[in-house]
Amino acid sequence: MGARRILVANELTSYRQTLAIVLRELRPHVEVFETASEYLEGEITRLRPDLVICSHVTYAVRQRVANWIELYPECKPYSTFYIGGQHRAKRDVQLTDLLALCASLP
């Protein structure tokens, strides 16, 4: 099996860049890609990511991505994880939560 692919597509640029860089540095065994949210659907087709992290989950994400995180929609402190077919709501996600998930993607 090849390296797991993570596509980071959060809306606010410096936040997106920060997540992508931290994941690349601290989880070097996964491939991390970054895109502006308006290009998310095209990048899903091109990259076929195993996990998408975005601010607003779209129909295409729900239909075509096995795992996704809707992280802080509208910058509110709650997020939704869809991992391994299970939905989970989580308040006040920490960086370590994201790192742990990237280390154990199904």
Binding site: T13, S14, T18, L19, I21, V22, L71, K76, Q94, L98
Partner: protein
């Protein structure tokens, strides 16, 4: 003054080595480390605050970085006496006491505002290298004092 970054044409960053390096004139002597510049992070949401703090700590090892919850900002400014603050909502205490600060995405919009030694800058879509550049300016101002 406005620093413009077109979000459509922004360049995706690579690894941490793709980010701007600090100026070359830095030293690591122990005396310098004791009085090293301080950056206080109080923006929200939390994972972004922690992520930016991690990047600054990694890329600017001569800088001390502390993270606090936004509601502890004013108290932390008085206790920690930072040279720079990154927050989501600038307070009067912040404006009165800190020379360099960034109000990052207030009201969750794309606009951010920075104050660098009394000079106001507005960013339509601030990027991580911009934040690192402001950290460098805060360090220069701290050294000059």
């Amino acid at each position: 003054m406005a620093a413009q970054n077109d979000p459509v044409h922004e360049v995706a960053l690579g690894g941490i080595n793709s980010l701007p390096k600090p100026p070359d004139n830095r030293t690591e002597d122990p005396a310098r480390r004791r009085g090293r510049p301080r950056v206080l992070m109080a923006n929200e949401p939390r994972a972004y605050r922690e992520g930016i703090a991690a990047v600054i700590s990694q890329l600017r090892p001569t800088v001390d970085v502390e993270t606090v919850e936004p509601d502890a900002l004013d108290e932390s400014i008085k206790r920690y006496v930072p040279d720079m603050v990154i927050c989501s909502k600038a307070t009067e205490t912040l404006k009165g006491r800190v020379r360099v600060w960034v109000e990052l995405y207030p009201e969750n919009g794309a606009i951010s505002v920075a104050n660098i030694g009394g000079r106001r800058m507005e960013y339509t879509e601030i990027q991580l290298p911009d934040l690192l550049s402001i950290v460098d300016k805060a360090e220069e101002l701290a050294k000059a004092n």
